[in-house]
């Protein structure tokens, strides 16, 4: 969820009144925002860098407000104020946007050449005319650009925004792509010219820009925008030229958005333009829906007129049509999140107030069923605890070492599913057995009085070609007994008890029996395979001393590991 930081007093000034922190928090809640933190620049610096650094920093109160991830229109002070004011019915109507032509008559043009297809194929542009920046507005303008870059632009991969002082350049503009050594210009805030190749090296160490280099780094050609005199405006998505940079005195702003996703590029350009001016070239889209649709979905019964009013309150200017049933809703370009009638329905519900809707009970009649596997698990857990074993709850993810080396097994024999992007070794694979988790639980509780008796009934994950995703879960029952003597008879007794609970009698064919088996995790001659109804269901035995020491344990330990799915 993006967080927008705004100066409180500036916000209240724009809203036309002041609020107590509680009142403002309440207003945010109703509108779907969250007042996350009340702070100041001084507070932030002192928290992050210590009191001494904070000396002299501004102590103007800042509100940090959490904005829903799809509401790009609320990412700056201007948008927030507009949204809240209309919500509080301060504005009679939400603003309308329209495009105007420059006094000269000729609109600016951005020509896109074919070469860009190889690297960043889309670009859109617009001009803000006769704008007056103040320091606050300028800061807000830059911050909105940054917020958009981080959110909808997906860290500039989808869209990159460039803003330029139009009076320092002349159209028509050309968006093209060239080999890096053929691009040469003075980048923003630098004193000399560099080739694109040199720039990429220069920015390798730049704490901010280095995160964007990978987007074009290995491409044969880099995107670049020129004006009619060959001046470089920008090399998206990395850096603008220094020549056309905007300042507080800039009157006319040229905004270009280059993109790999055209829809997102349009959204971003609309945001930039509508937040900062009255002009926009995007026409309104209109949706028609019935008041009845909203009443039915929300569970209210309001008149069509009232619903139109509710929508208007949410910046969706709405009118009841001549039939008295249908409502025509104008969707301004700021509301790119509205793509279906249900999005309009949500705004109506918000304007009505979620907490004013009467809570009803649906008459849906259904009979409950437990999943048989979970039902069996629940029943067995109770009885294993009654048998003196304590339940552990261990992670489904672990290291390769846990399921292979430490158990004296080969990872290639495990049928393990491997994770591609683990941040640490703890998340390399999905577990193929519950045993490592239980042994680690023992190790973390060595100070507890002996014997320790633990069990877990949970899922392991195994590769399985017959499944659509190539893997399946398997419900296992695993138990360990840890004491000064191995206690094979204890774990064997537990196995007998489990079979008794599952109504399987001792016996060779239809019953269960165990027979000596080889398993590298167990002490030679102390491991048996368990068969039930003629099928192998697991093993039990005394663990190999090397397994015990690899899990940082010191006492003998016996273990039981069986598949419970055959008993469904």
């Amino acid at each position: 969820m993006p967080t927008v930081s705004v100066k409180r007093d500036l916000l209240f000034h724009a809203l036309g009144r002041t609020y107590s922190d509680e009142e403002f928090d309440e207003l945010c809640f109703e509108f779907g925002l969250e007042l996350d933190e009340i702070t100041s620049e001084k507070d932030i610096i002192s928290r992050e860098q210590g009191d001494t650094k904070a000396e002299g920093a501004s102590d103007v109160i800042l509100y940090k407000i959490d904005v829903p991830a799809n509401r790009y229109d609320l990412l700056c002070l201007e948008g927030l104020v507009r949204g809240l004011q209309v919500f509080k019915e301060k504005y009679v109507l939400s603003p309308r946007y329209r495009r105007v032509s420059p006094t000269s008559g000729e609109p600016q043009r951005l020509v896109i050449t074919e070469e860009t297809a190889a690297v960043r194929p889309h670009a859109v542009a617009a001009v803000l005319r006769n704008i007056t920046f103040t320091q606050e507005r300028y800061d807000s303008f830059i911050e909105l650009q940054e917020k958009l870059h981080q959110n909808v632009c997906r860290k500039r991969t989808l869209v990159a925004i460039g803003t330029h002082d139009l009076d320092t350049i002349s159209g028509p503009f050309t968006y093209t792509a060239k080999p890096p050594d053929d691009i040469r210009f003075t980048p923003l805030n630098q004193a000399q010219e560099y080739t694109a190749t040199e720039l990429m090296n220069l920015y390798k160490t730049d704490s901010h820009l280095r995160h964007y280099l990978h987007i074009i780094e290995d491409k044969p050609v880099y995107p670049v925008i020129y004006d009619s005199n060959g001046i470089v405006l920008s090399m998206p998505p990395i850096i603008n030229g220094d020549h056309s940079k905007i300042s507080l005195n800039t009157k006319n702003v040229f905004i270009e958005c280059t993109a790999t996703d055209l829809t997102k590029a349009k959204i971003v350009l609309d945001m930039m333009v509508t937040m900062f001016c009255e002009y926009c070239e995007e026409p309104f889209t209109k949706e028609t829906l019935s008041g009845d649709f909203i009443n039915r979905k929300v569970g209210i019964s309001e008149s069509t007129e009232r619903i139109a009013q509710l929508l208007t309150k949410m910046c969706l200017r709405s009118e009841v049509m001549s039939d008295g049933e249908q409502i025509e809703v104008e969707i301004p370009p700021t509301r790119s999140d509205v793509i279906h009638a249900c999005d309009i329905m949500e705004d109506a519900a918000m304007a009505y107030g979620f907490n004013n809707i009467i809570r009803t009970t649906p008459r849906t009649y259904t009979v409950a069923n437990q999943l048989p596997l979970n039902k069996l698990t629940e029943l067995l857990r109770q009885d294993l605890a009654a048998a003196g074993f304590t339940e552990a709850l261990t992670f489904a993810l672990c290291s390769q070492e846990d399921i292979a080396d430490k158990l004296l097994k080969n990872i290639s024999d495990t049928r393990a599913c491997h994770i591609a992007n683990p941040k640490t070794a703890e998340f390399q694979v999905a577990r193929t057995t519950l045993l490592p988790g239980l042994l680690k639980t023992l190790a973390a509780n060595r100070k507890m009085p002996l014997p320790l008796r633990l069990f877990e009934i949970s899922d392991v994950v195994l590769k399985d070609e017959t499944k659509d995703v190539g893997a399946k879960n398997n419900r296992r029952l695993c138990a360990v007994y840890y004491n000064k003597s191995p206690g094979f008879e204890v774990i064997h007794g537990l196995m007998d008890r489990v079979m008794q609970l599952l109504e399987v009698k001792p016996g060779r064919d239809e019953g269960y029996h165990i027979q000596a088996a080889q398993d590298s995790s167990f002490f030679p001659g102390r491991c048996a395979e368990i068969f039930a109804h003629g099928k192998s269901i697991g093993r039990l035995g005394v663990l190999h001393p090397d397994v015990i020491s690899r899990f940082e344990l010191t006492m003998p330990c016996s273990a039981l590991d069986i598949d419970i799915e055959p008993f469904l």
Partner: protein, 497 residues
């Protein structure tokens, strides 16, 4: 049990004494060690109110080793005086005596003797008086007789300073008759035995009283894990409300079911390497219902079903990527798709409680895996009011009655609501879950009838458990670092209590 003979002797002493007696005095008069009397007192106390014994402590003065020597042989100064003959004694010779040094200076300050430094043949000591009175010895003899009270405090502290006297604290019992006093004692039984029951002898026996202050012996039993106890309760609540359990035993899921089928666009941040665990083996899912897949592609890239769609180039390669599921809603999607394939739609209520995985930064309240609780209802004509009504019923069963809802954003529900409850302890509203109405772009491509609405909500299992059991660090609850003592000690789980 102390020596039975001594116990009876003690009882007879108590019988004779009017108004009680002191255990020290008994020890002295019987000529036995005081500890033996204390033992007898203790065993009598265990028999009930035979005697009453009140502990007291008294102080008295005792001679030190040096004090005893002086009481016997006289003070050092007196011995110096008496060892000097009329013709005097060379100082060097005097100093060689064991008591010489101390005795000389004391005798000098008492002016009993004098030193002639100029005497020929070296300094020589002479008596100056005929007789002396050895008051130090006299005082010590008084103390030795047990009459220290005759001495003044100043005198006693003077002798203490000279390490001749020491003050000793003596603990003793003041013993009086109890309400059940008798000079004969019967042995008390500790426990009822089968023999006593058979013979009826228990009727005549006296039984040793139990100490009800002590703790009992902990039963030798196993314990269920607290998080699983809470899971059982949540399952119970869903079953009481008529919800059927979904098969969530598939941790590995394709991006298609986890994201695409939920109308979550392919560039969505949740699909990032930073948030989701992708698999390298098996890296891809290879089986999809193809006509449904095509409808999903279309609604994302071109729109349809009343939607403009996201208008981007939807790629099957993205959908094929295997991941560890990030939510159990992936299973809900599979179940709803399955429901839509039935000939006739029947309303359903589903639930699940199972593990989900996030490739997130870990801290005291976040792990890479946690349990998600999810409820889903599908029927014709469900409203937002119905969703809030069900949530109200669900949370009431958890003991939470004060709820309010905040508008929120979620790519696959519209409207989306965060559920807040008023926490009486924290005196503020805290988020307890998420909820919403599934988008038509998710439901209609599955083939569900147009009028069917699906409402759903979810919450984590760990959070209410941590609140319930007062656990601050999630690692103490989930995973191998669990504190087993906490598991042993955890109470039953009654969520509404």
């Amino acid at each position: 049990m102390a020596d039975a003979g001594l116990v009876e002797t003690l009882l007879r002493c108590v019988e004779k004494a009017d108004g009680g007696l002191d255990s020290q005095d008994v020890a002295t008069s019987l000529g036995v060690d005081h500890q033996a009397i204390v033992g007898a007192v203790k065993s009598l106390q265990a028999l009930g109110d035979v005697i009453s014994a009140e502990q007291r402590s008294s102080k008295h003065w005792e001679l030190t080793g040096e004090g005893c020597e002086i009481a016997e042989q006289g003070s050092h100064e007196a011995r110096v005086f008496s060892s000097i003959p009329d013709e005097g004694m060379p100082q060097g010779q005097l100093m060689k005596l064991a008591f010489g040094k101390v005795g000389f200076s004391k005798a000098m300050s008492n002016k009993w003797i004098r030193l002639d430094k100029g005497h020929e043949g070296g300094p020589r000591v002479f008596r100056t008086v005929e007789n002396i009175e050895d008051s130090v010895r006299d005082k010590l003899l008084v103390v030795q007789k047990g009459q220290s009270s005759q001495l003044e405090e100043k005198e006693k502290s003077e002798l203490k300073k000279r390490k001749l006297l020491s003050e000793v604290t003596v603990k003793s019992y003041w013993i009086t008759k109890g309400s059940l006093f008798s000079t004969t004692i019967t042995k008390q039984e500790t426990e009822l035995t089968p023999e006593m029951i058979a013979s009826g002898s228990w009727k005549e026996k006296k039984f040793k009283p139990y100490n009800f202050e002590a703790m009992g012996v902990a039963p030798d039993c196993g314990h269920l894990h607290p998080l699983m106890k809470v899971r059982t309760q949540f399952r119970q609540i869903f079953l009481e409300m008529g919800f059927t359990e979904m098969p969530t035993n598939n941790f590995i899921e394709s991006s298609f079911w986890n994201f695409d089928s939920l109308f979550q666009p392919q560039q969505h941040p949740a699909r990032d390497q930073h948030d989701t665990f992708f698999l390298s083996d098996p890296a891809q899912a290879h089986e999809f219902p193809l006509d449904y897949l095509e409808r999903v592609r279309k609604v994302h890239s071109e729109g349809g079903f009343g939607s403009q769609g996201y208008k981007y180039d939807w790629k099957i390669e993205e959908a094929q990527k295997n991941i560890l599921r990030t939510h159990t809603t992936a299973v809900s999607a599979r179940m709803l798709y399955k429901l839509a394939q039935k000939e006739k739609f029947t309303p359903v209520k589903y639930f699940s409680i199972d593990r989900v995985f996030r490739n997130e930064t870990l801290d005291a309240t976040h792990l890479a895996e946690f349990h998600q609780i999810e409820g889903v209802v599908a029927d014709y004509g469900l409203t937002l009011g119905d969703l809030m009504g069900i949530l109200h019923q669900f949370f009431t069963k958890l003991g939470i009655t004060k709820l309010r809802f905040k508008p929120a954003y979620n790519p696959y529900t519209e409207p989306s609501m965060e559920v807040f409850s008023y926490h009486e302890g924290l005196k503020k509203w805290v988020e307890v879950g998420n909820s919403g109405v599934f988008r038509p772009e998710m439901l209609l491509p599955m083939g569900l009838p147009e009028g069917v609405t699906v409402i759903a909500w979810g919450l984590s299992l760990e959070r209410p458990t941590m609140i319930k059991y007062g656990i601050n660090n999630i690692r103490e609850l989930v995973g191998h670092k669990v504190n087993l003592q906490m598991v042993y000690d955890s109470p039953v789980c009654r969520l509404d209590a």
